[in-house]
């Protein structure tokens, strides 16, 4: 009996041993992520890859267009004040920033993140086995547009940057910076090419927001306008203004765009993808799908308009207060109609409350300067619903227009003026229509002021500041016009004229952002840094 048991046991043991020794199978197929090789074969996956290229624009962590970036950028200009130094924006305004502040580091990184995604798509898209050749070309054109946009951001702030058009690879990490001119020339070629491929309009509602022919041409116009401007155009090459004017005209000549009827309404959900919007970043009220503009303006108040901006608004007759027939009007009356459509000011009604400067408003605070922006918010004079009044970060739904038609019109006017060609016709088709839409009716505000380029430049610069107030355009305008040292040196003031702090601007250093020091640490070939930022 025992013998039998023993034999049985031996057999069992042997069996167990064999089982053990054979169980060395080590293959594991991941089921939670795609393999990079096969990912591009399918139609849906490749399209998701393209979506990822767009998503870089709205990234919460990346200071491109997501979060409240455009508002904080406004704070680096004389328009607004960022009291809590978010991402280092206030340091930039004060001229005390360093090469390691968050926005300098992360804008660089975010732009390259977008570039990397586009490059990866472009390198792999031809492997697709399901889409038609035409679809593939269209998708690649969108990615090429986005890549151009990301590069345009980079060269606008950092000047020379490493120029990479291949799929990401470790050895790109040591590449040095490429001259801006070389990058610009590539981008112009790219944008011309994709303009020939991309559609003028998308018909499907679920394609709204994708890159169009107009977007490519408008981006090219902005690129060329910047290249023509004093900061970029160090050789003062007049030909560049002509290219800029032509590029803007090309957008106008598409015949696709017009100004939206209501200025305030343009920055609301109703006007999304209107005929004025050329390219926008799409937001919606879903987790991580929105911007943070509402909570920033309502609660944080860390992009607070300055008295300087309020004082910059002209009066209803299209003249500065000092020379206006309304010069004795009370503080916030008889101003450019865009004022009340842009700014929340003491005594106004906002979110159902009278605006108070002592921080006792329940739903919002304007304690920093006495003002906040209401452009691009879901709020207005009326009380907000409980849901809207508590809308959190990354939930603001209104699309942000990176390029809008009014911008194109003013680009054209500016380039024409620099060329000495801002005729009445040009005026009427650009500045006049913008002012009409803003609500001006006075002839003194609407009519051509004559062909004095200096006067016209004053009008153009006024228009750019006021029309785009709160949209994050002005910081780059004062840079490219090289007027930052004039407008960014001095005290900034609250609504009642009290000084908050003094700003400084070092023209030998502060026109260009430094290459982030973290990047130089990773890649010493990025040296030398921009002038004034070390070796």
């Amino acid at each position: 009996m025992f013998e039998m048991n023993k034999r049985k046991l031996s057999i069992i043991l042997l069996g167990v041993l064999c089982l053990g020794f054979s169980a060395c199978e080590l293959e594991v197929e991941p089921t939670d992520s795609y393999d990079q090789e096969t990912f591009w074969y399918g139609a849906k996956t490749a399209k998701a890859g393209l979506t990822g290229c767009y998503a870089g624009l709205k990234d919460n962590a990346g200071p491109l267009y997501g979060n409240a970036s455009v508002l904080w950028e406004e704070c680096a200009s004389p328009n607004a004040y960022n009291y809590d130094n978010r991402l280092g924006w206030n340091s930039i305004a004060l001229g005390t920033h360093t090469a390691d502040i968050s926005v300098v580091t992360n804008r660089w990184k975010s732009a390259y993140t977008g570039i990397g995604r586009c490059n990866l798509l472009l390198a792999n898209m031809d492997k697709n086995r399901e889409l038609s050749p035409d679809e593939i070309v269209q998708m690649k054109a969108q990615a090429r547009f986005l890549r151009a946009l990301y590069y345009q951001v980079l060269i606008t702030y950092y000047d020379k940057v490493p120029f990479i058009t291949d799929a990401p690879a470790v050895d790109q990490g040591t590449l040095a910076r490429t001259d801006r001119a070389e990058i610009v020339s590539f981008l112009i070629t790219e944008l011309n090419e994709v303009a020939g491929i991309l559609p003028v309009r998308y018909t499907a509602s679920t394609d709204q927001g994708r890159a169009t022919r107009g977007a490519a041409l408008a981006l090219k116009a902005r690129l060329l306008l910047y290249e023509a401007s004093p900061l970029f155009n160090t050789a003062n090459d007049g030909e560049k203004w002509k290219q800029a004017a032509d590029a803007a005209k090309a957008v106008m000549d598409l015949g696709q765009y017009s100004l939206y009827a209501s200025y305030r309404g343009l920055f609301s959900q109703t006007a999304e993808n209107s005929t004025e919007s050329i390219f926008n970043v799409e937001f919606m009220d879903e987790p991580n799908m929105g911007s943070s503009l509402d909570i920033t303006l309502r609660q944080f108040n860390n992009a607070a308009p300055l008295r300087d901006l309020i004082d910059a608004y002209w009066m209803l007759d299209g003249k500065p207060r000092a020379v206006s027939i309304y010069q004795n009007a009370s503080d916030y009356e008889n101003l450019d109609p865009r004022f009340k459509q842009t700014i929340v000011y003491p005594g106004a009604t906002f979110m159902g409350e009278t605006v108070k400067t002592d921080g006792t408003n329940v739903n919002f605070k304007v304690i920093q300067t006495g003002y906040t922006f209401k452009k691009y918010t879901i709020y207005d004079a009326g009380a907000a619903s409980a849901y809207d009044a508590a809308l959190g970060e990354y939930r603001s739904p209104i699309n942000y227009m990176v390029l809008r038609y009014a911008d194109i019109l003013l680009m054209y006017a500016e380039a024409k003026n620099e060329l000495g060609e801002l005729t009445e016709d040009v005026w009427n088709s650009t500045i006049k229509v913008i002012r009409q839409r803003a609500g001006f009716t006075a002839a003194t505000a609407l009519n051509y002021p004559g062909n004095d380029a200096t006067v016209l430049q004053q009008h153009i610069r006024y228009e750019r500041r006021i029309e785009f107030a709160g949209e994050g355009y002005y910081y780059n305008d004062i840079r490219r016009w090289k007027i930052a040292e004039t407008v960014l040196n001095g005290p900034i003031k609250k609504f009642d004229g009290t000084t908050i702090i003094n700003r400084t601007f070092n023209p030998n250093r502060d026109y260009w952002w430094p290459v982030p020091s973290t990047q130089i640490e990773q890649n010493p070939n990025l040296r030398p840094n921009n002038p004034g930022w070390g070796n």
Binding site: L17, A23, A55, T96, Q208, Q299
Partner: protein, 1121 residues
């Protein structure tokens, strides 16, 4: 002699025993009370009356027996039967006996309830009597007394007494007992008829040489050990209120244990064995009885011992061994009488360190204003009117004008209790043990901070046939804890951000905010609200079931198989209700949180299947040649899955279930799974010659699914050798009991690389989604580069050690020198963002060296009945990056660079503060913008003198890894009382805390008093801190610089305890074999330069938002039946 009374007594004891068990479960320690009765009986206060006429002694004794609880012990004999004694006596028994002694040649002696009466010879030879006890005064029955010259010996009786009659003379008398030190007395001389009494007190020899140490896949005696192994006998930790098994490792040589935050239920420590080998993945492998397990899920009370393999001895565990291996051996069944053990303790805990925050609202406001002015601002936050109003209002309405110390409000003491019971028993065929444990711990937050642990285990071992033994074990642990709804980190952040001007008003679920506006504080976070409202409930269940087969094969071979199944289930429920703050002045109510009430359920399921087979052949040839051969094979699969669901929009706070909300508009779900497989083959060949020359060699091959085919297999050999010099013939020393040299070399592996690291992955995530025309389009992106060719990281480990035991093992010394070189380090590298903004790939990168030594010294002895011991250990380890292909890896404040320690700090060099405007104006280079700087701002060194202070001026300094770990302690015992204390500490380690309370007024937070006392002013030029500025407005002062690097070395009294062992005279009557009570204190004293927070924090953490460390005061009882 056995009377009815005795039987009653026994019954009573039985009843008392069960009562004691019952009482235990309700947590009241009354057991000790039962002991008092018997002790009260003494000869002096026992009253007897004797009226005898010419009676013999025997009858007199019988009469006395009937009147008292005492029994007489004597030999029937002439004297007892024949003596004619008349006595009329009433009084104490002692007096009676003394009277009888005068009248007859007898001698008496009380022993408990017995009175031993002896006849003293008329012609007396010398008599030696005496006792043998241990140093606690417990008798040692079975010990022997030897008179060397006569070669006569006698055994010691149950009461610890002995008696010898001797001829007159001078002798050497020795008392000896197994595993006790022999006590000998020379020159004891006896005159004829002389009676002498000798009391021997023997000290137990912890015979460390015969101690069994569990090492890789086998056990060895300490004497034959060739590896560097630290062992922890959990009996020595029995009275410490360990809430996490890893806390038992404190003070062990070569091991850095760092408890950063002692959150109840989640108080695991970081364990680093002999430094930090590699750049990521530094956790040691933990096995419970041979199966991989988590230290978090082992009740410390269930552990018998822990071995830590620190050198090439770990190589037998191959690919997971390079960070050391921790082998936990649980308590097992034992043949013998059933034994029931209880232990129970209760006490309270409180935070060790809390920041010294300014809680005076007026001072706070003045300081904030001053800081803003010092930062260049021309308008300040609090107006003079507001401050005046506040000052006047404080006396009238403290809810509108509060002076709130939030640490006092939301932190309090927490109770802790732990109860364990274990039954062990069995016979030669079957033995068992079963244990049950319960812990209930309340944390220091006033609400939503508590933990419970229920642990149980059952182990049965059966000798099925002569050849087959089957053992089964099931170990289960349920850890339930409740955490504040927003999570500990967030709430600690809130607490460190709270201001004294915030009102602690709380009524009807509304919590006070403030009527004063403070920049950054738009939505006031009331700490009490965040503690009280909402919760996170977690249930962490884990069980391990294993089946072990031991089978004796022919030719002396043995098969051992372990089949383990480990199941982990982690579940949590987060609930956050809608919260409201109220302005204490205006009464305006404000909703605090959006998307509420919200709920999140999460479940993670992990299953681990493991099979381990071994064939062992062991044989002793010619009584000298011991050969051991082992072949083994393991296979392990880890299957991890998790799932999470979220929803919000309940109407109110009463419903807390996902299915209570049918509206799925806001619902979110996520989940995932990973599979991880490891296959291994290993073998060992060991040869020992005469226990003098020790030799061992192992090899292991591991294959892991974490690498791509082709790179899956790694080979890990080792060689260990030992030479026991003290066994050599030429070695003659009576003082040295053991002298052994050890050496080992081996290759250890590390597979601590994220699953799928070699795969090129495209990730789907909502961050990559985008909406087109208001419709969400699913996105995907690559977020990291990868290297398909990554392979095993390995460590070459060298160790040389010496073991010394001397002075009859009173002194033991272990010293080791070690050198480890880790190469092919698996490291996710940081690459320049220009490469698609991607995380760098995990690469096999470079080499790191760890060199160091460990010394451990123990001495124990006794002076009379005073037993004492001291111990001390120190470990030094320094690591150095030897090669990373000339690159440097910088991430934030840390750098990895050749020639420096892993994660050295990389900082601007601060050089005090500017003392004047002239100094600023004349500086050749400044950091930031010169016009912004003021006197009292931090001055930085332009180390390369290039006219710019930029990243090139950063210096490499300090380390987040301590170079020295040390521990020391002492115990002293007298009779039944033991006092002991253990200290522990680390040195040469730095921390870099930033943000709230580390920096002043950070993002709207408050400030510590230190800034009021010691910040720069013209009158205080040598201050500790720069001029008071806000962290937001003067970032120049708060960049990563040496100014804020702080030395976090510390020495801490880890444990102090005072215990009392009830003497056997008492316990025996209760039929208890051991009864001990004690009081214990943990972390009561800490000495450190770092005062802001407990220095034992996560050394790489950039802020202070950790749960506090705790000090504990406990009292407890241990009872063994």
């Amino acid at each position: 002699m056995i009377s009815n009374g005795t039987i009653c007594k026994q019954q009573l004891i039985v009843v008392m025993r069960y009562s004691a068990i019952l009482l235990f479960f309700i947590g009241i320690h009354l057991g000790a009370l039962c002991a008092i009765r018997a002790e009260a009986q003494s000869l002096s206060n026992t009253r007897v009356s004797v009226h005898a006429k010419k009676s013999n002694l025997k009858d007199i004794f019988k009469s006395v027996e009937s009147q008292s609880v005492f029994a007489f012990v004597f030999n029937d004999g002439k004297i007892f039967n024949d003596a004619q004694i008349s006595i009329d006596y009433e009084g104490s028994l002692r007096m009676l006996l003394d009277k009888l002694k005068e009248r007859s040649p007898i001698h008496y002696e009380q022993n408990g309830g017995n009175i031993i009466v002896t006849y003293q010879a008329q012609q007396p030879a010398a008599t030696l009597t005496g006792s043998v006890t241990d140093i606690q005064g417990q008798p040692l029955p079975g010990a022997r007394i030897t008179v060397k010259e006569l070669n006569r010996s006698t055994a010691v009786d149950q009461q610890g007494h002995f008696r010898l009659t001797l001829p007159a003379g001078t002798y050497t008398v020795e008392a000896h007992f197994i595993s006790y030190q022999t006590d000998s007395r020379r020159g004891v001389s006896f005159a004829a008829g002389e009676n002498k009494s000798l009391a021997f007190t023997l000290q137990q020899v912890v015979d460390s040489l015969d101690e069994i140490v569990v090492v890789g896949y086998r056990s060895q005696t300490k004497a034959t050990l060739t590896g560097a192994v630290s062992t922890i006998n959990m009996e020595t930790k029995a009275n410490e209120p360990l809430t996490h098994a890893s806390q038992a490792l404190y003070g062990s040589t070569g091991i850095w244990v760092n408890q950063a935050g002692a959150k109840p239920g989640n108080d695991g420590t970081t364990i680093r064995i002999r430094g930090v080998n590699t750049l990521s993945g530094n956790n040691p492998l933990v096995l419970l009885d041979g199966v991989e397990y988590s230290l978090s899920e082992i009740d410390p009370a269930d552990i018998a011992s822990i071995s830590v393999l620190k050198d090439a001895a770990a190589a037998i565990y191959g690919s997971k061994s390079s960070n050391g291996v921790i082998l936990v051996t649980s308590k097992k069944g034992q043949a013998g009488k059933s034994k029931i053990e209880f232990s129970s303790r209760t006490g309270f805990q409180e935070a060790t360190y809390l920041p010294d925050v300014v809680s005076d609202p007026i001072l706070y406001m003045q300081m904030r204003n001053a800081a803003e002015r010092n930062s260049g601002k021309q308008t300040v936050t609090y107006s003079a009117d507001q401050i005046n109003e506040y000052r006047e209002g404080m006396a009238i309405d403290p809810s509108v004008y509060p002076a709130t110390n939030w640490f006092d409000i939301v932190l309090d003491q927490g109770m802790i209790q732990q109860h364990n019971v274990r039954v062990t028993g069995g016979n030669q065929q079957v033995n068992y043990t079963a244990g049950l444990g319960y812990m209930n711990q309340a944390g220091v937050f006033i609400d939503n901070d508590d933990a419970k642990r229920y642990s149980f285990d059952l182990k049965v071992s059966a000798q099925v046939t002569d050849r087959l033994k089957i053992s089964g074990a099931i170990t289960g642990n349920l850890r339930k804890y409740n955490e504040v709804g927003y999570g500990t980190g967030t709430v600690m952040n809130t607490l460190m951000r709270a201001l004294p001007i915030f009102s602690d008003y709380h009524r009807n679920n509304m919590y006070g905010s403030t009527w004063l506006y403070t920049p950054g504080r738009n939505n006031v976070e009331n700490p009490r609200m965040e503690v009280e409202q909402g919760f996170t409930k977690r249930d962490y269940q884990e069980f391990l079931s294993s089946l072990t087969l031991d089978y004796k094969l022919p030719f002396g071979m043995k098969y051992n198989g372990i089949f383990g199944y480990r199941k982990v289930d982690h579940w949590s429920k987060d609930f956050l209700p809608e919260m409201y703050t109220v302005n204490p002045k205006t009464g305006d109510r404000k909703i605090f949180n959006s998307n509420a009430p919200r709920l999140k359920d999460w479940d993670a399921y992990n299953a681990q299947y493991s099979i381990s087979h071994r064939l062992t052949w062991e044989k002793l040839f010619a009584d000298k040649h011991q050969v051991h051969v082992m072949l083994g094979q393991d296979y392990q699969v880890n299957d991890n899955r998790n799932f999470q669901a979220y929803n919000y929009g309940f109407y109110d706070n009463s419903l807390q279930e996902l299915n209570a909300l049918k509206d799925q508009t806001n619902a979110q779900a996520t989940g995932g799974s990973t599979l991880d497989k490891l296959a291994s083959f290993y073998s060992r060949l060991a040869y020992t010659f005469d226990e003098k020359y020790l030799f061992e060699s192992t090899f292991r091959m591991d294959g892991s699914s974490r690498f791509a085919p082709g790179n899956q297999w790694g080979f890990f050999p080792s060689v260990l050798a030992g030479w026991v010099i003290s066994k050599e013939n030429f070695f003659h020393s009576r003082q040295i009991n053991l002298l052994k040299l050890r050496a080992s070399v081996g290759r250890l592996g590390n597979q601590a690389v994220a699953i799928g690291s070699y795969n090129s992955q495209v990730i789907i995530d909502n961050a990559y989604n985008y909406s087109f025309g208001g419709t969400i389009s699913g996105g995907a992106a690559v977020n990291a580069l990868n290297d398909r060719n990554i392979k095993w990281e390995s460590t070459l480990s060298y160790n040389a050690g010496i073991d010394l035991e001397a002075f009859q093992q009173r002194l033991s010394v272990t010293a080791d020198y070690f050198y480890k070189r880790t190469f092919d380090i698996l490291r996710p590298v940081v690459i320049a963002s220009q490469v698609g903004g991607l995380a760098g790939p995990t690469l096999n990168l470079g080499k790191v060296d760890n060199k160091g030594y460990e010394i451990d010294v123990n001495y124990r002895d006794h002076i009379g009945q005073v037993d004492y011991g001291i111990n001390g250990s120190v470990t030094y380890v320094k690591n150095k990056v030897v090669d990373i292909a000339g690159q440097q890896q910088i991430s934030g404040r840390y750098i990895i660079k050749e020639g420096y320690s892993i994660n050295s700090y990389y900082l601007y060099q601060a050089d005090g503060f500017y003392q004047s405007q002239a100094e600023i104006d004349q500086a050749s280079a400044v950091y930031g913008t010169r016009s912004k700087l003021r006197s009292g701002y931090v001055k930085y060194v332009n180390t390369n003198n290039d006219g710019y202070i930029d990243d090139q001026d950063k210096i490499i300094t300090g380390s987040s890894i301590p170079s020295y770990m040390f521990g020391f302690g002492a115990h002293v015992g007298y009779k039944n009382v033991v006092l002991q204390a253990q200290f522990q500490g680390v040195a040469d380690v730095d921390v870099y805390p930033t943000a709230n309370l580390a920096f002043p007024f950070n993002n709207g937070a408050g400030v510590t008093y230190e800034w009021a006392r010691d910040s720069w002013a013209e009158s205080n030029p040598d201050s500790k801190y720069p001029i008071l500025t806000t962290a937001t407005d003067a970032p120049e002062n708060f960049i990563n610089s040496t100014q804020w690097l702080q030395d976090a070395s510390y020495i801490r009294m880890k444990n102090i305890q005072l215990g009392y062992n009830f003497p056997q005279s008492i316990t025996k009557k209760l039929h208890i074999s051991k009864l001990m009570v004690y009081v214990s204190g943990e972390n009561l004293l800490t000495f450190s330069k770092f005062k802001m927070w407990d220095p034992e924090m996560t050394t790489t953490k950039g802020d202070l938002y950790e749960y506090p460390n705790l000090k504990a005061y406990t009292a407890g009882i241990n009872l063994v039946f």
